[in-house]
Symmetry: C2
Subunit: 237 residues, 2 copies
DNA sequence: CTTGACTCTTACCTTACGTCATAGCATAGC
DNA sequence: GCTATGCTATGACGTAAGGTAAGAGTCAAG
């Protein structure tokens, strides 16, 4: 109340001689409105405008505000995805006898994929897909794994280039396509760009990703992150 | 950087003789991690704990954090619903020749329902439902409308009771059931508790809701809001 | 009249920075 | 070597929306 008074947002109708604040019915009604807009996360300044300026375009403000809140919510959704990925990756369980299947890509990455697929389609579907994958011509799988290694090699050699340069982005596009192919076997849906961005976050979250041929290489992690994010964002446009 | 240095979160590895901050590779790596957790909306203090305390239970923290973010996201979803309702209600359009159909319930409420139904099922479905409703035995519709008035009367007479008291909640349950019946005709889905909570917000948002028999009555709006929220929340448990 | 519960004002704390002023330092060009 | 320009350091203050504490005044009840 003190604050609202000071901001001129809600003044008491009467000040007693001992300077106590007394509010009347009109002030209560105004407080109701203030609290309503406050619940909607409007800043107090704007609430003042809404209530005091009769020409204020309320609908426009509400719709603009809605957009902001939508962005915030989508952002939270992305964060939740990232946390899920991170937790899966830290828990490090499952993946009992499938190591061979997923060999060739970072273990945590494979796990993250697998767990997300299980979340969406149920374990049985994923298991069935994996069996199908195991029965797939060896050559095709090997091709994917080999491509993966090749792409990683090329990216390592480009680590001093600008992550947004054409040369890097070309390899990132292959990286994305490769992961998508792999994904497409275990998951009937397409790989979402957001999931790919979540993977980009994983690259800087744990030093295990940054290990290149036995040596810790944080620069590579940062590089991959930037390159993947740039790729994903330009795909989204 | 100054801030992180001051908080002891990230200290430069070297201070030149002119007190310039110099960071080494290890510090860069640490910064990566800091930024990662910062993206996940962790407060800096907690990031410090995560990075400095080897016994920190990261998974627990992540999952606790996930719950917080989930709550935030759900909250935003509710806000977005409320804003939608409010905007529909302000726009005051449509409802051209259906006044008779929706007569007996607050006009804005009917509009909000109708617009939400259109959003979810498309205008044609709603129009079809409305036609069906118009062909429905008049008595049934009248019964709903009469109930609505009766409930409102009873609630007005209870306005000085505790909104959480049994007597009030009994009427609120009827209120909810009545709205649900009406809703059930125009919308194939059930009325969501969240939507009901959004309606509760509408009760305090506009003085037209607070008008009882021609007199402004903000107390009734506040009372309805509390009672509806309490009802919805105990339903959710 | 005293006691306990409010309320008043003022001031400081919170988060994660951003901005500003002032001063020192670094480097490129001359 | 000197200077113009730009980067950095430090400290102070501001932000949003209050929360908390201190110290003083006020109200109603016993």
């Amino acid at each position: 109340m003190h604050l609202y008074d000071q901001l001129g947002l809600l003044k008491p109708s009467v000040r007693t001689e001992s300077r106590y604040r007394r509010y009347g019915e009109a002030e209560l009604l105004r407080l109701q409105q203030i609290l309503f807009y406050k619940v909607l996360d409007f800043p107090l300044k704007e609430i003042g405008l809404i209530l005091d300026d009769p020409d204020f375009d309320l609908i426009k403000a509400l719709e603009g505000h809605k957009e902001l809140l939508t962005i915030k919510r989508d952002h939270l959704t992305t964060l939740l995805n990232t946390i899920d990925n991170t937790v899966n990756h830290l828990k490090n369980k499952t993946m009992s006898n499938y190591e061979e299947l997923y060999e060739g890509m970072p273990k945590e990455q494979a796990e993250a994929y697998r767990n997300e697929a299980i979340d969406k389609w149920g374990e049985d579907v994923v298991v069935r897909s994996e069996k199908a994958l195991l029965e797939m011509p060896k050559l095709d799988i090997e091709q994917l794994k080999t491509d993966q290694k090749d792409i990683t090699q090329k990216l390592i050699s480009l680590v001093n280039e600008n992550p947004e340069s054409e040369a890097v982005q070309e390899q990132i596009a292959r990286h994305y396509a490769n992961i998508r192919s792999f994904w497409g076997v275990t998951d009937p849906t397409d790989l979402k760009i957001e999931t790919y961005k979540g993977l980009a976050d994983l690259y800087v979250a744990d030093e295990r990703y940054t290990t290149v041929e036995g040596k810790t290489n944080p620069a590579f992690a940062a590089f991959m992150h930037k390159a993947m994010m740039y790729f994903a964002d330009s795909k989204l446009k």
